[in-house]
Subunit: 331 residues, 2 copies
DNA sequence: TTGTATGCGTTATCAG
DNA sequence: CTGATAACGCATACAA
């Protein structure tokens, strides 16, 4: 159980097999080696139960085969999904994941980047909010949902298109008065475009709309107040709501129900993200689904690409609509 | 953006500061160093933007300050919670997490243990199902929810107590005919005791009960069949259900509703795990809550403890009941 | 207290 | 195609 009796090294294997150290290395790295030598080495490896030491390799090659993922947490189901798919994509490519949580602490975001660099990760994938994020120059860096500059690749869903899709869908479903609601950081990032897309589509279609946006930290009661203000003698001003995230949509729906409104009969609600109950069951609400798998694939292949210079600086992936019980039909 | 211009090393810092290599190392590791030297070194570190290379340190000290967490996935909200709290506990102790997903693949469980050892992690925390798991001898190993032997520490919630608590609570809430339902691996692990505790309490209280247990892979329809079989002329045989997990409880409740039964008016349901909607909102169902934070703390402090030999081999942590809308009252 | 020198396990360069 | 040997960056035992 204790970590004392030092593990066998390549030198041990070489001695056991009666060959040179370099030969063992070559066998392990699958390079050209004479058949008889290869067999002797493999036999010795078996006998000794040798496992190569990646610290030594990392020091020598300056590659760890490890990617750091910096993300707020894994409690939010969307982040949990992202972590999962990114890890799977890394696994496919035989890379490891160093997982770092920021808990939305902007200082920690920077600290974790430093830490990841000390650990000589081969790349960093980060979903952050710090307006003054220090982006390292000497390690491949990919951001999610946030565009910095053309020199740092950003992967995101088509948030604008998603907002627009939500508006069009609500109209198709018969809505005549809609509203957009969100709470989030003041930072302008890709998810900010959910509103833009929604507004643009409403304007284009001539669909009357309102926008209710709160900053992080604002009390939830502000939403309740907003909703109640739009309730006049038992009649609600909106028959369709597009909410910035599925989680907020869920919360809003609870309020609507307490106000005596039925969802989707009286008000139809569309969220954003594509969260399922318990991760795998039905969609929690009708929603614009982020293509998490594709986002993960894009992040990983980008961060691992040899020449980051000729990689697109903004990878925008298509979203889709999914029925989750809070709209009037599934399609 | 590319990873070429080699980062400054301790030797560079030493040269820049006009001191010896060892002195730099001592400053960095916070050992006794003369004030003037310390300042010179720190200044040089700043000037060069030096960050120590943990590959070098790992090779030299045979410690990586990294713990591997081996777990099925992070899509299941309970696992997501576990990952989160374990990571936070590691962070507190200045350790990193290497996250590995098994996807319930028993072969991969063993492979990941090998991989973690190659990566020279300082310890492994694992939640696995392989009946023939190869537990490494030379690295601290802690398991979650599964007891192997006295020599490998296991951390788990008090599953037996939780089952018993569920039975007692259902009785307090007025139930007269109850059932336990679960689906899971045939492996006998700590969660298996949920049934034992439930049955024991029912027997002790003289509460009539039935048990419906399915093996992993069985079709969900079996549960539907079971429920419908117990529906005789509009009357359901049970007024209380204890379900092995919150997720299954949620699924069962959908079936009950489709059968025209009201929850909690006609049937009260208690799940297990303590899952909240979107990770942070209300409990998804009334539930026996696992003390995830405490489980995480126990895993981390155990895996990092110097002498695993005098550590308890089974750490069993108390659960609690929480109202989640599927029982008739809170508290 | 500081400087010097060695070796951790590996890969890569050179000779043979 | 194989063997010997020199780094990689760091911590530490030992010398000053």
């Amino acid at each position: 159980m204790m970590k004392d009796k030092t593990a066998p090294t390549m030198a041990d294997v070489a001695r056991e097999a009666g060959v040179a150290l370099g030969t063992v290395s070559r066998v392990i790295n699958g390079q050209q080696v004479g058949e008889e030598f290869r067999e002797k080495v493999n036999a010795a490896i078996q006998r000794l139960g040798y496992k190569y030491n990646s610290s030594g390799r990392a020091l020598r090659t300056d590659r760890t085969n490890t990617i750091a993922l910096i993300i707020p947490n894994t409690i939010n189901p969307y982040f949990a999904l992202l972590v999962h798919h990114i890890n799977m994509e890394l696994e496919k490519r035989n890379r490891r994941m160093l997982l770092c949580f920021t808990e939305y602490d902007t200082n920690r975001e920077n600290e974790l980047i430093q830490m990841a660099q000390q650990n000589r990760v081969d790349g960093i994938i980060a979903l952050t909010y710090n307006p003054d994020l220090t982006i390292p120059e000497d390690v491949p860096f990919v951001t999610i949902d946030r565009f910095f500059s053309a020199s740092v690749p950003c992967v995101a869903a088509d948030n604008f298109g998603g907002g627009s899709l939500a508006a069009r869908r609500l109209k198709e479903l018969g809505c005549a008065n809609v509203a957009f609601m969100r709470i989030g950081s003041t930072l302008v990032n890709e998810p900010s475009k959910r509103k833009e897309g929604f507004v643009a589509a409403c304007v284009e279609m001539g669909l009357p709309f309102e926008v209710m946006a709160l900053e992080d930290g604002a009390p939830f009661e502000e939403f309740e107040r907003f909703l109640k203000e739009h309730m006049k003698n038992g009649k609600f001003a909106f028959d369709g709501l597009f909410i910035g995230t599925d989680m907020l949509a869920w919360q809003i729906i609870q309020v609507l129900k307490k106000m005596g409104l039925r969802v989707p009969e009286d008000v139809q609600v569309i969220g954003f993200d594509g969260i399922r109950s318990f991760g795998v069951l039905d969609y929690a609400v009708s929603t614009i689904v982020q293509p998490v798998q594709e986002i993960a694939e894009a992040c990983v292949s980008t961060v691992l690409s040899k020449h980051l210079s000729n990689v697109p600086s903004l990878i925008c992936l298509p979203v889709s609509y999914a029925f989750g019980g809070t709209t009037r039909e599934s399609t």
